[in-house]
């Protein structure tokens, strides 16, 4: 229900420039996949979007600048699934998901009945009922990741940022988590920006890809245009075969050097 636009966004960490003049426009309900080698600036860009790094340039949501909005308002518009979320061992799953309602609760406020109903609803829809009363420390990686996504969804933010949402998961749970996001995107018109290492998965779920290299976008467009063996060889320094299925799926297969 919201579009997001980056205009010449730059992020610096001290003297090094993590992101240079990033410009992109993501329409309502669209999924933009950020790809690129380690240190390309994907996380920095996502973190700048939620206010964790200062940035130059402008980030606009539905045409108006993020800097004009209060901290809580920004948090209510953009939900962030971080790369390495901290899950307190002795917090219960339900309490954890409830934290997603924080942007909607006033400074001295407490969660309202609506907040709790919303959390119960998210937990229900994601089928996490068994996890709600369990402590986070007792859960498996897949269960924890689903709760992190549930927390982001409980915010009811129209824009969802995913930073390596599946890097800690096995292939089954990877698919499960991404299918979940895809389904919710379709149901609620969520705008999604993800940073992912797995190129095949990135291509499968995103509408468009942007390939970052040393903070600069070097290729952007449809999945089939970005995922080229030559491009990947140039910026990742890898030898890959890119296989295209008849149904449009692009599969990136790594090759051994001496073959």
């Amino acid at each position: 229900m919201s579009s997001i636009e980056y205009r010449d966004v730059g992020v610096r960490h001290g003297r090094t420039r993590a992101v240079n003049d990033f410009t992109a426009s993501v329409r309502t309900g669209e999924w933009l996949g950020l790809i690129g080698p380690n240190g390309a600036g994907k996380s920095s860009l996502l973190r700048a979007t939620v206010g964790l790094h200062r940035h130059s340039g402008d980030i606009l949501i539905d045409g108006s600048s993020l800097t004009l909005r209060s901290r809580a308002r920004r948090a209510a518009l953009i939900a962030h699934v971080p790369q390495d979320p901290i899950l307190p061992d002795d917090m219960t799953g339900g309490d954890y998901v409830l934290l997603g309602r924080t942007p909607h609760i006033g400074y001295f406020g407490t969660p309202t009945r609506h907040d709790r109903a919303m959390v119960d609803d998210v937990i229900d829809r994601l089928d996490l009922g068994q996890l709600a009363n369990r402590r986070l420390g007792q859960l498996s990686g897949g269960e924890r990741q689903r709760l992190v996504i549930a927390r982001a969804l409980a915010t009811e933010a129209p824009i969802l940022l995913l930073d390596e949402p599946t890097s800690a998961l096995d292939i089954g749970h990877q698919q499960q988590a991404l299918e979940l996001v895809a389904r919710l995107r379709a149901e609620h018109g969520l705008t999604v920006i993800s940073a992912m290492h797995d190129l095949t998965l990135a291509g499968m779920y995103a509408d468009r890809l942007a390939l970052l290299h040393e903070g600069t976008v070097v290729a952007e467009g449809d999945v089939a245009d970005v995922l080229h063996a030559d491009t990947l060889a140039e910026f990742y320094g890898v030898r890959v075969t890119v296989h295209r299925d008849p149904d449009g799926t692009v599969v990136v297969i790594p090759r051994r050097e001496h073959l």
Partner: protein
């Protein structure tokens, strides 16, 4: 799937524990008023208290307590019980809040210099003026101890924040360690130059409730009330901070401001009680952990329970302090460690076996 039948959120483990710990507090407080040298028979004390409570006085209770005995209960024992309760509650609440904003189970206000600063302030006063001069209108020891405690924490905070920024809490904790060493060194130096007051300073450091009066209660109550109210209003923020500064920021919480406000509030309360009771150790560290082990770690429950439980803990610790070697007193700081440490270990062990 029995979990699904219950509402999944909003269940407070505290719905049982908070009233239970409040009842414990009342029982312990009455017990505290019952015990002591001189005064009426111990069983008359609850009756004498009930006699003077509105509504209960209509039951026609006759405790048979004389005015003189009542004066012992009301002017000697009760202030001590109430002050012990306030000190215990404030130290525990301060500890729990510090552990929350620093996400570190081993910190309490003492770590950033509240105790060392207060100790130095008291030492300077006692060494300079010989302490409790009768010619002073206001006893300068608590006033200076209070100001030094606040000042030390303020310096720690400014130093830690200017070097590490407020993004990491470890710089702040390290700055605290440095400040504590510095204050302790100065204190040792002053004591060495004024060895005649060592005993008096030592008595102050070990903590004392023996001279408690309603005056002391009135002295700390404003600070403690302000501190408690502010900390209470931030209990939800403490829960959000458990996921780390970055995620809390992304959730819209002004992390640096919340941390500063909580640190100021907790330090204010702690400095006030340190000023009247000396350095009673161990309470701010152990009580919050006991509470977490019993009732879970959500600050919605932890904060109210540290107040009731902390108050009960210190009233209880004060009882052996004044009876074991009566008429002499065992310093309360010694008792808190003596009761607290084994109890804590037992609790830790039973919880781990249960898991």
């Amino acid at each position: 799937m029995s979990d699904r039948a219950r509402p999944v959120t909003g269940r407070l483990p505290g719905t049982v524990w908070i009233p239970a710990s409040a009842m414990l507090l009342v029982i312990v407080a009455v017990a505290g008023a019952m015990i002591g040298p001189a005064g009426p028979d111990w069983w008359r004390v609850p009756l004498a208290l009930a006699e003077r409570i509105p509504l209960l006085d209509r039951l026609g209770i006759d405790s048979g307590v004389t005015e003189r005995e009542w004066s012992i209960i009301w002017n000697i024992r009760m202030p001590r019980v109430v002050l012990a309760g306030i000190v215990g509650a404030t130290l525990s609440l301060g500890g729990a809040s510090y552990q929350g904003v620093f996400r570190n189970p081993l910190v309490d206000p003492y770590l950033l210099g509240a105790a060392a600063g207060g100790g130095l302030g008291a030492t300077l006063v006692i060494a300079t003026w010989g302490g409790f001069g009768d010619d002073w209108i206001v006893d300068p020891v608590p006033v200076v101890a209070f100001l030094f405690a606040l000042g030390t924490v303020a310096v720690t905070y400014v130093v830690g924040a200017s070097f590490g920024g407020l993004r990491t809490t470890s710089t702040l904790v390290l700055a605290g360690v440095a400040m504590v060493s510095l204050m302790t060194a100065i204190q040792t130096f002053v004591l060495q130059r004024n060895s005649d007051v060592v005993r008096e300073v030592y008595n102050w450091i070990l903590g004392r409730l023996s001279t408690a009066s309603w005056n002391d209660v009135g002295l700390v109550l404003p600070y403690v009330t302000v501190s408690t109210v502010i900390l209470f209003l931030h209990r939800r923020h403490l829960d959000v901070l458990r996921v780390g500064d970055d995620e809390a920021t992304a959730l819209g919480v002004p992390v640096a401001r919340v941390r500063l406000v909580v640190v100021i509030a907790a330090t204010l309360g702690t400095a006030a009680v340190v000023a009247v009771s000396g350095l009673i150790g161990f309470v701010g560290l152990v009580v919050p952990h006991m509470v977490r082990l019993i009732a879970g770690s959500s600050y919605r429950v932890v904060l109210p329970m540290t107040i009731t439980f902390g108050a009960a803990f210190l009233i209880l610790a004060d009882i052996p302090g004044r009876t074991l070697s009566a008429p002499a007193e065992v310093p309360i700081g010694v008792v808190t460690a003596f009761i607290g440490a084994p109890f804590f270990i037992v609790l830790l062990r039973t919880r781990q076996v249960a898991r």
